[in-house]
């Protein structure tokens, strides 16, 4: 699968700072989009590929931490790197506790910023992959017949075929057939994988 280009969103209320950060990130080969306010950013369409946000904490009007909160309630929870001119310790701690990737003081070194962005993008890629994986597992689970679903629910608790058969009031041979079909439909290579899948799609 061809991965979509990663995007770095930069929100700072000062045009010259936006331009400087964008220029730096572009020179490092990143795709950048800038916004003058958090409000403007929150209203923009959600990115398709992996993305992260570089945010000034003391945005006029809106506080950076409020934005962090607003983002958490969105469908895509983008990793955030905070940039600040006066990062007080409590503010920093609060941001990091709420899931910020990093908290950098202005003026920050290019390497620190780029490293934080790389971490944030990797984190977002993981979250996206997990999301794709979850959707795919749900799709597979939807192809199971009610009986197969029942068998899967019992098998993942560690019951033997014989015990499953007893629980469902059927023969061990039928359970074996159902079980094979579950493994095939879910594309599970082992019982351990199937257990994890059951957990993800909520078959208990």
């Amino acid at each position: 699968m061809q991965e979509a280009t990663p995007t770095v969103f930069v929100v700072d209320d000062e045009a010259s700072v936006r331009r400087a950060i964008a220029r730096l990130l572009c020179s490092a080969g990143l795709h950048v989009e800038t916004f003058a306010s958090a409000h403007e950013f929150l209203r923009s369409p959600q990115p398709v590929g992996p993305a992260c946000l570089v945010l000034d904490v003391r945005l006029s009007g809106e506080n950076g931490l409020t934005v962090q909160d607003a983002l958490r309630h969105q469908e895509r929870c983008l990793p955030i790197i905070f940039l600040t001119g006066h990062g007080t310790v409590p503010l920093c701690a609060k941001a990091l506790k709420a899931g910020a990737v990093d908290f950098l003081q202005k003026p920050c070194n290019d390497e620190d910023l780029l490293e934080a962005i790389a971490t944030a993008l990797a984190q977002d890629r993981c979250m996206q992959d997990a999301q794709v994986h979850r959707v795919e597992l749900h799709r597979r689970a939807a192809t199971l017949s009610p009986r197969e679903r029942a068998v899967m629910a019992l098998v993942v608790t560690g019951l033997l075929n014989k015990q499953v058969a007893a629980a469902l009031g059927t023969s061990e041979k039928t359970v074996k057939v159902h079980r094979a079909r579950v493994m095939q439909k879910m594309q599970a290579t082992s019982l351990a994988t199937l257990v994890r899948m059951a957990d993800t799609v909520g078959i208990h």
């Binding site: 010259s16 700072v17 220029r23 020179s27 600040t84 001119g85 006066h86 310790v89 003026p107 290019d110």
Partner: protein
């Protein structure tokens, strides 16, 4: 532009923004310089982009210099715009600005203002800044105190000699004896994230008005900051 321009929301100087204001152009300078460095290492450097980065660096450096010059001018010459004013009015204004309705504010504020106070020939904006700094410090000192009701007392008195004294008394966590001597020194602060400029600038402003400012530890708890101004 810069810290001398009053922020739009309350039209007063806000010294705590100074650090942020200075760090913005520094960020512009550093990031553009590092971007230019990266651009120049490429096989075919985009020289137009490097030129644009350098232009932005120059503009940011000039801006930083201008901000520092304004700050210096403000601290050293003080360029007062004097008018006849009532310091009691300035106090009420500051309390109103910081608390809105004092009656519903969590901090109990007592204004003990002498009714027959002579007027002062002074710079309203700068004196307001002094009071704002002192009152804000008092509020912040009481912010973390949980075992007593936060109370602020602002008092004005006048001597027949023509000296007006303003005292701002809090019951906050106070200042230890060792720090008292440096309280008015520039860049001395006991606040996390503080710039240490508020009281230093206040001292310059009061001195430019021909007055004195000092602080004393209260017998039980908290700090009292007082300053004098000559009556006009």
């Amino acid at each position: 532009m810069g810290m001398i321009q009053p922020p739009p929301h309350h039209g007063l100087l806000e010294f705590s923004v100074l650090a942020h204001e200075l760090k913005q152009p520094l960020m512009v300078i550093l990031s553009n310089a590092q971007a230019a460095q990266r651009l120049l290492t490429m096989a075919t450097p985009d020289l137009t982009e490097v030129g644009a980065a350098v232009d932005d660096i120059i503009a940011a450096a000039r801006r930083t210099d201008e901000m520092i010059q304004r700050l210096q001018a403000f601290i050293t010459t003080g360029a007062l715009e004097r008018s006849r004013l009532s310091i009691n009015d300035v106090i009420r204004e500051v309390i109103q600005l910081m608390c809105g309705d004092a009656a519903t504010h969590p901090i109990r504020i007592t204004l003990d203002l002498a009714a027959d106070l002579p007027s002062v020939h002074g710079d309203r904006i700068q004196l307001r800044q002094v009071l704002l700094n002192v009152v804000r410090n008092a509020f912040e000192a009481m912010h973390l105190v949980a075992d007593r009701a936060p109370t602020l007392v602002v008092r004005t008195t006048a001597k027949p000699t023509g000296v007006i004294t303003v005292t701002v008394q809090d019951c906050g966590r106070g200042i230890d004896e060792a720090s008292m001597a440096r309280l008015f020194h520039p860049f001395f602060t006991t606040k996390a994230g503080g710039m240490g400029l508020g009281l230093a600038l206040s001292r310059s402003i009061i001195a430019a008005h021909g007055g004195w400012i000092w602080a004393s530890r209260n017998p039980v708890q908290g700090l009292t900051v007082s300053f004098t101004l000559p009556a006009s």
